[in-house]
Every structure is written in structure tokens, then in C-alpha cells.
Symmetry: C2
Subunit: 213 residues, 2 copies
């Protein structure tokens, strides 16, 4: 609260009231149009001119706000990643220290985001088109989520609550199964985000060798 | 097994000598160039002219072999999917009926392909750009792998060897964690395909509630 001045920070500065509630992302018209275009025709298949056309601004007006097309992709990826990172941390803190609850909450937060922001989450596949420096920078931001999950998996394993041979690989497998959700989630439509999250929490607890429920 | 006559089937018809051995895919020069181009700049970011330039043929010569750009993507996706499908089936049959070994073999086959053919596997992300009819057709082919894994998970659960609440969701989670491998595998490089496959087999057995080893 009172942090609304920090509109330029990666995590938006504001405290998240409830990590389970995903309001629509507050994207600028330009970023919103860029997201639509990248989703529909991919990063390389989209021109700055096409994005400007969708927003109804001139190309120079667009360049006033964003350096170039890659700048738009970077902005979207960083918004998306910092959103999931702050939610995952809020979910972790909300668990009150219990290691099984911590993993459950964090997986729930990640899956809710994969289902409710499937298009934004799907954009991560375009990250490989970033220039090496930007890809590296983006990887660092994204590693925050991996670091959090890995820390929980390691702590749980050390405490004997989880039974995991290779925490790094299990962390990647956990995140990998979540990252694939946007590929099929839209096509399905029978399960709501909460129901999917609940199922994935159960599967995640199995993966780390903890009891579900 | 006398099945070499069925050369027109989706699975190439020929018996696979060893599902663990992945020879380089025998792609035509045009398909090979299309794979390179799609991987580097995405489906929408690639022109037929660019593919022709890479092969060193004229655009009309390329159209002689393939209807259009989407035809090239479909051809690559179908080759890729039928390759993993026939390997997965060979791996399954090789397990001699033991349900734990069946799941282990099939996951091993899938992971070997994800690591050794990471670029071809990564192309699956472009499938969402297919026209509705082609996407539907491709989904049917791809479902073969999902059907096989799900059948094993269901049989193992019914036999009481696996402990799975929702075989359909666990199947998607198993495939999802494997599908994400191409996103990070190239960047890593410390583990060989066999080592990665072994780790994922152990994680998969945990996911279905079976004992590893």
C-alpha cells in the first residue's frame, strides 16, 4: 500500500491482496495488441506496423513507447514472469511454513496462472527468439520461480518429508508439466482453473514422494 | 515381422531395429531446410522463398513437392509424431508385459526423442498455427502417444501397481513434463540423453505412485 508510485518496478510494487484471485492483466493498449498479434502469428510473423494498426496508432507513436518489436516481447515476458513470481512468493508465505502446504500453494499459484493467463503463458515459447543478451536477462527473472520451487523441494527432502533423488531435475519436471498446460487447456474447457490446479497439486505431491491430503 | 509391406502406413511400416537408437532423421533437403527455418524464425516468420533459398531450388520446384508452407509444417509434424509413436510402441512391446517396465520404456523412448531430436520436438509449439482441419488431423496422430501412455497408466492403476486418482490428467502431466524438455535441454548440455531419460523415468514412476527400481 502506498507503493503505487513504483509503477515502474518489475513486480508492480503493490502488495497482492490474494494470490488466488487473478484479475485481468492491466496491459497498455499497445502491449495488449502486441500480445494478441504475437499469439496469433508468432514473434517473427508479426510486424510493428501490424501492432500499430491494431491499436490505431502510428508506427512512430509506438516507437515513442517501445524501442522495437523485441522491446514489446521483452516487456510482455517480464510482466508475465514477475506476475507469476510475486504470486508464487505470496502463495509460499501464505502456507505458514508447512512444507507440503508450501509446495501445494506454489503449484496452485503457477497452475492458476497457466490456465487463467494461458495466452500470456504461451508467449514463453517465443523467448527463444530474443537476442542473446535479452534472453539471458529474461532467464534470470524466470529463474526466480525455479529457485523458489527448488528451495521448497530441497528443504522438504532434507526434512525427510519429501523423497526426491534429484531436486533440480524434479523441479524442472514440476515446472515442465505446468508449462505445458497452455498447449491443451483452451481446447479442453471442461475443467475450471481451480479444478485443474487441485489435480496438479496432487500430482506434484506424488512427484516429490509426499502424501496427498 | 513381415510388416515391411505396409510402407504407406503412418508408422513407416518398417520394424524399428532398436527403439533406443535414434539415427538422424532421414529428411529430404526441402524438409530439412524448412525445419531449420521454422526453428529459427517460426512458422509465420518463414517464407517459402526463404526455404527455397536455403535448399538452392526455385520456388516453383518447391511447390512441385509441397502444396504450400503449411504443407511443409504438416509433413514435419507428422514425420516427427509418427516417429515417436512407433518408437513408443516398440518400447512398450519390448517390456514383456510388466507394467512398471512398460511405463519406464515408453517414458525413456519419449525423453530420448525429446533430447536427441529437440528441434523437431520443439516444432510442436508451432502446431497451433495450423488451419483448423490440419490441426485436428495432427491432433489425432498425436493422440496415439497419449492413448498408449494413458492405457498403461490405467492398466497399472486397475492392477493396483500404480496409485493414480485421475489417469487422464496424470497422463497429460507425464507428457507435459517431457514436452518441456526441448525448452531447456540445449541450454544445458551437461547430461547426456540417456542420463536425462533415466531421471525422468524415476520421476514418472513416482508420479504414478510406483516404486522406482
Amino acid at each position: 500500500m502506498g507503493a503505487s508510485d513504483n509503477a515502474d518496478t518489475l513486480t508492480h510494487g503493490e502488495a497482492i491482496p490474494d494470490w488466488r484471485v487473478l484479475e485481468p492483466m492491466d496491459l497498455s493498449p499497445i502491449l495488449s495488441a502486441a500480445l494478441d498479434a504475437f499469439y496469433e502469428t508468432g514473434f517473427h510473423g508479426t510486424s510493428v506496423r501490424e501492432i500499430a494498426r491494431r491499436v490505431g496508432v502510428t508506427v512512430p507513436a509506438l516507437y515513442y513507447h517501445h524501442e522495437n518489436k523485441e522491446g514489446l516481447l521483452i516487456a510482455l515476458l517480464e510482466l508475465s514472469t514477475s506476475d507469476v513470481l510475486s504470486r508464487a512468493h505470496a502463495a509460499d508465505e501464505d502456507a505458514g511454513g508447512d512444507i507440503v502446504q508450501r509446495l501445494s500453494n506454489v503449484i496452485e499459484a503457477i497452475v492458476l496462472r497457466m490456465t487463467m493467463r494461458a495466452r500470456l503463458a504461451a508467449l514463453e515459447g517465443e523467448a527463444r527468439y530474443l537476442s542473446p543478451e535479452n534472453r539471458q536477462r529474461y532467464r534470470e527473472v524466470r529463474k526466480g520461480v525455479e529457485r523458489l520451487v527448488r528451495q521448497i523441494v530441497e528443504e522438504g527432502t532434507e526434512a525427510g518429508v519429501f523423497d526426491v533423488e534429484d531436486p533440480a531435475e524434479t523441479t524442472r519436471a514440476l515446472l515442465g508439466m505446468c508449462q505445458s498446460i497452455p498447449r491443451w487447456y483452451h481446447a479442453q474447457g471442461t475443467l475450471g482453473p481451480e479444478a485443474v490446479a487441485k489435480k496438479y497439486v496432487n500430482i506434484a505431491l506424488k512427484m516429490v514422494g509426499a502424501r496427498s491430503e
